[in-house]
């Protein structure tokens, strides 16, 4: 067989199968973001602006100013917290797209309780607020869990619909039971002693520290514990989990409760670290943007952290561009949407490329 194949017995020297797969996983989102920015540039040009200038403003604001950094990390905090939980859920094949509602309920529950014990010291109130936020978010998500487990309701639908219940609930709460009597606006009292302390040279609130704890813990849990094993196994073949590990209801419920808790905690952190009150601004869309962050971060805690920071930087930069050169917000949102589409498409392209590579190998040896 000398005429046909002169390839060594082991054709793929160097990179192992796993390494190569890992490189693709990281490169695809990066390339997709690049592509999205490129298309975004075309859109900006159509809008009559100079894309180079706009992008320069965006990047220099986010990367080279202290306030840019601060703002980026402030936004990345809720995004990362929520997206870690959602990402673990997605890993398990449990779809939760209603983090926005879970965030709202977490924030409302914590202000409702803390508002009535306002004179306690922060050292008591802050942990209490975190717990309340988690409980509120978890309760809200577990409604979807109950519907799924008992009645087979698709969680994509139930979690989303629960957002549309949480929003009016919030509007009612800040107008009636939780309303600050001294204010004309529909908003609650200020969070008072539960306000998160600032730290470091960036004047960041300590919520960011929580991200730095949650990300490695989640990463460890996913890789090294039974719970993480079950997450991965449930996502891979849930029937094998039901036959060998847990009953059917356990994992869907656990993932919704976990995602809801983290979203609720993010709700409290926004309340106590940034907004100081609950009001119409509490539902700022973090719960939805976090879905994008989870997808960009490949549902992996570390990936999610990177994606959260990158996406926030982009948002912060876009705000600057909007402020300085009047870039329409809609354009920024389109670029965001493009990123998602490109990441999804990037996966398809990547798998096709690897298939083609295999074919080319077979064609390269034609006589």
């Amino acid at each position: 067989m000398t005429t046909i194949d002169a390839r060594p017995a082991t054709p793929t020297r160097g990179l192992s199968h796993a390494t190569r797969a890992r490189i693709t996983t990281v490169l695809t989102p990066v390339a997709s973001v690049m592509a999205a920015l490129l298309v975004g540039a075309v859109l900006i040009a159509f809008a009559g602006e100079n894309p180079v200038d706009i992008y320069r403003t965006m990047f220099s604001e986010a990367l080279f100013t202290r306030s840019g950094w601060r703002e980026t990390l402030l936004q990345a905090t809720p995004l990362a917290l929520i997206a870690v939980g959602l990402g673990l859920g997605f890993r398990a094949g449990v779809w939760n797209i209603g983090a926005e509602g879970q965030l709202i309920v977490g924030a409302v529950l914590s202000i409702a309780v803390i508002g009535s014990v306002n004179d306690a010291p922060g050292i008591v109130l802050i942990p209490l607020g975190l717990v309340l936020g988690a409980v509120g978010g978890a309760l809200w998500a577990s409604i979807a869990g109950y519907l799924a487990v008992r009645h087979g309701v698709n969680t994509v639908i139930s979690t989303l619909l629960l957002v549309f219940i949480a929003e009016p609930l919030l509007n009612w709460a800040v107008r009636s039971p939780l309303k600050d009597p001294e204010s004309f606006l529909p908003q609650s009292r200020v969070i008072g002693n539960a306000t998160l302390p600032q730290m470091g040279f960036l004047d960041l609130h300590i919520g960011f520290l929580l991200v730095l704890i949650v990300v490695p813990v989640a990463s460890y849990v996913l890789r090294r514990t039974r719970f993480g094993f079950l997450i991965r196994a449930h996502g891979g073949n849930r029937f094998a989990v039901y036959a060998n590990e847990t009953r059917e209801s356990v994992m869907p419920m656990a993932m919704l409760v976990l995602g809801g808790s983290l979203a609720g905690i993010a709700g409290f952190i926004q309340l106590a670290g940034v907004q100081t009150r609950v009001g119409s601004g509490t539902a700022a869309g973090f719960g939805f943007t976090a879905i994008i962050v989870a997808i960009l971060g490949r549902n992996d805690p570390v990936g999610v952290l990177i994606a959260a920071v990158a996406l926030s930087a982009m948002l912060v930069g876009a705000e600057a561009a909007q402020r300085d050169s009047g870039l329409p917000v809609a354009l920024v949102q389109s670029v965001q949407a493009l990123v998602v589409i490109f990441v999804a498409a990037g996966d398809a392209v990547a798998s096709r490329v690897s298939a083609r590579r295999a074919r080319r190998r077979s064609r390269a040896v034609l006589p």
């Binding site: 067989m1 005429t3 046909i4 194949d5 390839r7 017995a9 082991t10 054709p11 793929t12 192992s16 199968h17 796993a18 890789r223 090294r224 514990t225 039974r226 993480g228 094993f229 079950l230 991965r232 196994a233 996502g235 891979g236 073949n237 029937f239 094998a240 989990v241 039901y242 036959a243 060998n244 590990e245 847990t246 009953r247 298939a355 295999a358 074919r359 190998r361 077979s362 064609r363 040896v365 034609l366 006589p367």
Partner: protein, 500 residues
């Protein structure tokens, strides 16, 4: 490249009169550092059935996937007639008249038989109505003597019916070359025989070329014209007339050694381990039985007579409508899977892909399924267990990369690893090569020798006659009386067909 066929054709003189339908030349396929096929040469000819034999992981499925456009070779080429043939998708293969019936069912269970037919048609032919598809399916079925209901949901069909539907689906495009990857693995002998008869007819009447993969050597002797043997991706015995060779000789060529006979050493029966009283659940209408320590209870029956319901109820996946299951004094109904495993009840399910393997997870992680501790630790014994069961595969590769038989070996390795009390073995040797099947049978016999109890469900009566201490026949959801040895093959066979 040289144009003369490089096959050593000794006994093929009569067969070589047939024109070559598909020529395989120097085909290799590697996955990272695993060589699945190494320089394979093969001529597939019109008008004959070519059997491809080989141990689990020998590369049979990989070869079929390449021939049908599901996969591409790392090197080497294919010719269809005189033309170069390099299908990049199953659709292209079908256009060239090549169709594959895959090793594992590829039908959509929630759709009807006719809808499944439509689904697999090429895009532009898909516009026919459902009624037309139903008529087509009936005509196809009538040609082959199959009675198939086009409106039946595939999920409700028995395994045998599904296998026939798979064949009809492949025949829908009227292929000249038909590739069948273990089509008889899930069938009883009688069903397999009738399928082989149909295949022979397809070859004799219309001169098609058929490639048949099977682990049942009997089928090679009765159903095939030529046979080729693969081992570790290499052709160890080029396609030659089956001729006078019998099953033992073929087994020898395949494994490279004699398949050892299995033996039972200690048939002493201990106290009652399992007792099932008046159990009814779904298709299972009534089951009463006991299994003692040291006993192998064989449950014979054609698939679709309630076995899946019995198996599911016994592991708590199906809630009994009536009756109870007590294992070692503990009621099994409502027990969590982990508790069941901790109590020493091991389970080799009939559908390993659904219930026993997590495809995307690594092999060593699959060995932990149901046995995880709170903290995952590397399992130092994993490599040893894989080797003991000669699972051909890498510990850190996903279980999806295992061949069908090797995935089954992995499941057996896991289930028998931590000294269970009872093994519920459902069609456990399905898809295993004769050597591996022998090893598993011996392992279960040794387990019973050591005082373990086994419930062994099988559609393969010969297997049960060999291993079981008692046999009960399952028919239409009911379990018959216990049959003690010496077994009368004929009457058990009749009972399986519902004749008492």
């Amino acid at each position: 490249m040289d144009s003369s066929p490089r096959l050593r054709s000794g006994a093929v003189t009569d067969a070589s009169e047939h024109r070559v339908a598909l020529r395989v030349r120097g085909v290799s396929r590697s996955f990272a550092d695993v060589r699945a096929l190494a320089d394979v040469d093969l001529d597939i000819r019109y008008g004959e059935v070519l059997a491809v034999l080989g141990e689990n992981g020998a590369g049979k499925t990989t070869l079929m996937r390449i021939l049908s456009g599901l996969d591409q070779p790392t090197s080497g080429e294919l010719y269809r007639g005189e033309e170069r043939y390099a299908p990049r998708a199953p659709r292209e293969a079908v256009e060239h008249g090549v169709a594959l019936v895959q090793q594992h069912f590829a039908l959509v269970p929630t759709m009807t038989a006719a809808e499944n037919l439509l689904l697999f048609r090429a895009q532009r032919d898909r516009r026919t109505s459902r009624e037309q598809a139903a008529r087509d399916l009936r005509t196809l079925g009538a040609d082959l003597g199959f009675d198939i209901d086009p409106g039946a949901r595939v999920g409700d069909l028995s395994v045998g019916e599904r296998q026939r539907l798979e064949l009809l689906r492949a025949l829908d495009a009227d292929p000249e070359v038909l590739l069948l990857d273990e089509p008889t693995a899930v069938l009883t002998d009688a069903e397999a025989d009738s399928l082989l008869e149909v295949i022979r007819r397809l070859v004799a009447d219309s001169g098609r070329a058929v490639v048949l993969i099977t682990h049942r050597l009997r089928e090679v002797v009765t159903g095939a014209d030529r046979v080729m043997v693969l081992r570790n991706g290499e052709v160890v015995s080029p396609a030659a007339a089956v001729g006078e060779r019998d099953a033992d000789q073929l087994a020898h060529e395949m494994v490279g050694a004699e398949v050892p006979a299995i033996a039972r050493h200690n048939a002493a029966r201990g106290e009652v381990l399992v007792s099932v009283d008046g159990l009814a659940a779904s298709r299972l209408r009534h089951a009463d039985f006991q299994v003692h320590r040291g006993e192998i209870l064989g449950i014979a029956g054609v698939d679709g007579n309630g076995q899946v319901a019995l198996e599911s109820a016994m592991v708590g996946l199906l809630r009994p409508e009536q009756g109870r299951i007590v294992v070692h004094g503990k009621e099994l109904g409502g027990v969590r899977p982990r508790e069941r495993i901790a109590d020493g009840v091991a389970y080799i399910p009939s559908d390993r892909h659904e219930r026993a393997v997590v495809g995307p997870m690594r092999c060593d992680e699959n060995l932990l399924l149901g046995r995880t501790r709170r903290r995952l630790r590397p399992d130092p014994g994993a490599a040893e267990v894989m080797a003991a069961w000669s699972v051909k595969g890498e510990l850190d590769h996903p279980a999806d990369s295992l061949s069908g038989g090797n995935a089954q070996k992995l499941v057996c390795a896991r289930e028998l690893r931590d000294d269970p009390r009872l093994v519920l073995a459902c069609q456990p040797t399905r898809g295993l090569d004769p050597g591996a099947a022998g090893q598993l049978r011996q392992a279960l016999l040794d387990f019973a020798d050591a005082g373990g109890g086994v419930v062994w469900m099988s559609a393969d009566l010969d297997e049960l006659l060999e291993v079981a201490d008692r046999i009960r026949v399952m028919f239409h959801g009911r379990l018959g009386e216990a049959i003690e040895p010496p077994f009368d093959r004929g009457s058990i066979g009749l009972a399986m067909a519902g004749v008492s």
